[in-house]
Symmetry: C2
Subunit: 296 residues, 2 copies
């Protein structure tokens, strides 16, 4: 999806919040805000919002002199999620609908996103888990999702954030792991999961994990490594977690299941739903592929 004018004030607000969150002093924050204002004044609205997100966080890293300013925050939320992991694992194992429960939990994990909200505590994470497990939700696509997973031979699972990656592990463990490769960022941006988080979360012990070669949020294919792009092209099912992956891949003509919690009114409008909605959504291309298969 493109960027909208409504995204612009939010870019500026997020830049300031992020600069403060990573411990920038007032002078550094001012420098970040001024540089981001200049970039936003010249931005290409045809690009997806994470393209600007990538620019913002390059400014923040450059101004603060920190390669990975969210490192502590990521560690905190990895640790929090790992403490929850055993109970959640048992919950899935004891459920009559383990895949649905795992998808619900993967969506719950998607709230752990400091790119959108910088104020989030343990109690809120637990509340979100309860809400996600009990929410009245159209689960009709779970069967389509299960069928797509069964049919696919090469599945790419695009992870989103640290902390959340532990919840992704719970879902990945419900998939045929030999067919799945998980994808993390090539280098740190915001609280997005990197290879370090994949290791900490235990995900690397479950499936192959690869880097996408990019320092942008979401998956901006033209900024990813050639190796990742080849794997993306070869995959017959892509599972894309979080808003950033939806924003960057919604127009990509591939067979994608998007899994996310909607946290922004612009994305809600694009998806035709309310803020707060739990989303399991097939890409249009996926339907086209299904038609082709039927036509064989």
């Amino acid at each position: 999806m493109q960027s909208y004018l409504d995204c612009v004030p939010c870019f500026v607000r997020q830049a300031l919040e992020a600069a403060r969150l990573v411990g920038g002093n007032e002078q550094a924050c001012e420098q970040v805000v001024r540089q981001v204002l200049g970039l936003a004044a010249e931005m290409d609205l045809n690009q997806s919002p994470p393209a600007m997100g990538g620019k913002i966080h390059r400014v923040i890293r450059q101004v603060t002199g920190k390669d990975d300013p969210y490192k502590e925050i990521k560690q905190k939320f990895n640790a929090l999620a790992l403490r929850l992991y055993p109970d959640l694992k048992r919950l899935i194992a004891g459920s009559a609908k383990p895949l649905e429960i795992a998808v619900r939990l993967a969506i719950a994990g998607n709230i752990i996103d400091f790119g959108v909200s910088s104020s989030l505590d343990v109690a809120e994470v637990e509340r979100v888990i309860d809400d996600s497990l009990t929410a009245d939700w159209d689960t009709s696509l779970i069967e389509d999702f299960a069928a797509a997973v069964k049919e696919a031979s090469r599945i790419l699972y695009l992870c989103d954030n640290a902390g959340e990656i532990v919840f992704d592990r719970l879902l990945v463990e419900q998939l045929p792991c030999e067919k799945v490769t998980c994808v993390v960022k090539g280098s740190p941006v915001i609280n997005d999961a990197t290879m370090e988080d994949a290791k900490i979360s235990g995900l690397t012990e479950v499936v192959e994990v690869t880097e996408n070669g990019s320092d942008n949020p979401g998956t901006i294919l033209e900024t990813c490594s050639a190796g990742f792009r080849r794997r993306f092209d070869e995959a017959d099912l892509i599972i894309a977690k979080g808003q950033g992956n939806y924003e960057t891949l919604s127009d990509v003509d591939r067979n994608i299941f998007f899994i996310l919690k909607v946290k922004c009114p612009v994305i809600a409008r694009h998806l035709g739903c309310e803020v707060g909605t739990m989303i399991l959504r097939k890409s249009k291309a996926f339907d086209n592929v299904a038609d082709l298969v039927k036509g064989d």
Copy 2:
């Protein structure tokens, strides 16, 4: 008061909301947003927020080609307030504390501010009036205010917005009108009251009304006419309505009573109160003057 970094995202948001509110098409809105981003990137944070507000609304007038883009909105809220006027006038007349009721209503009127909120309907105005009349509120300064009015020989009443100006009339009618001059903007900016609104509200029939010669929100003295500045210097009491006048005059060494409803967290922090608080506040200079009087 100066501008703060927290004001910057709000400037961008307000610019976009204002451009849409005055009927700008998407292309015009984009032009407004880009120009405002450029101005904000270079802004002087030592200036008060209304200095940037003035720049934003000059851009909006220039891009939309409308000299007074809020004209219809101002007329709508003048008409709404005038419909309420007779009942409110009777309410004051029948009260044991007419000055307090009039100040409470003047604060209620201050919510009619499209510079801050673009969504406001009749029901909300009426609810705000009820809330303002019944709110638990420290009225200890009302006596100081009454005493200052009594002692003063030349009172300037700085009006804020259209619509609100009808509520200002109710308060002005409780003051010794021969000592009072009301002040409106020199030319249109946002929904700020101009001479046209002073006439429509009936204020010109009650007291002398003069223009400040500026097209900035609030009262940025260096942008006002020499004539207004002389009257400002000669006044021994200034009654300043609304956030814009607080932002621009809070550091001015004059004898000022600020009357406003706090609608912004930055101003709330500056005043040491919560958003939503009803404010009747003396300037520090006023205290100094009082000390001088006592010392006479």
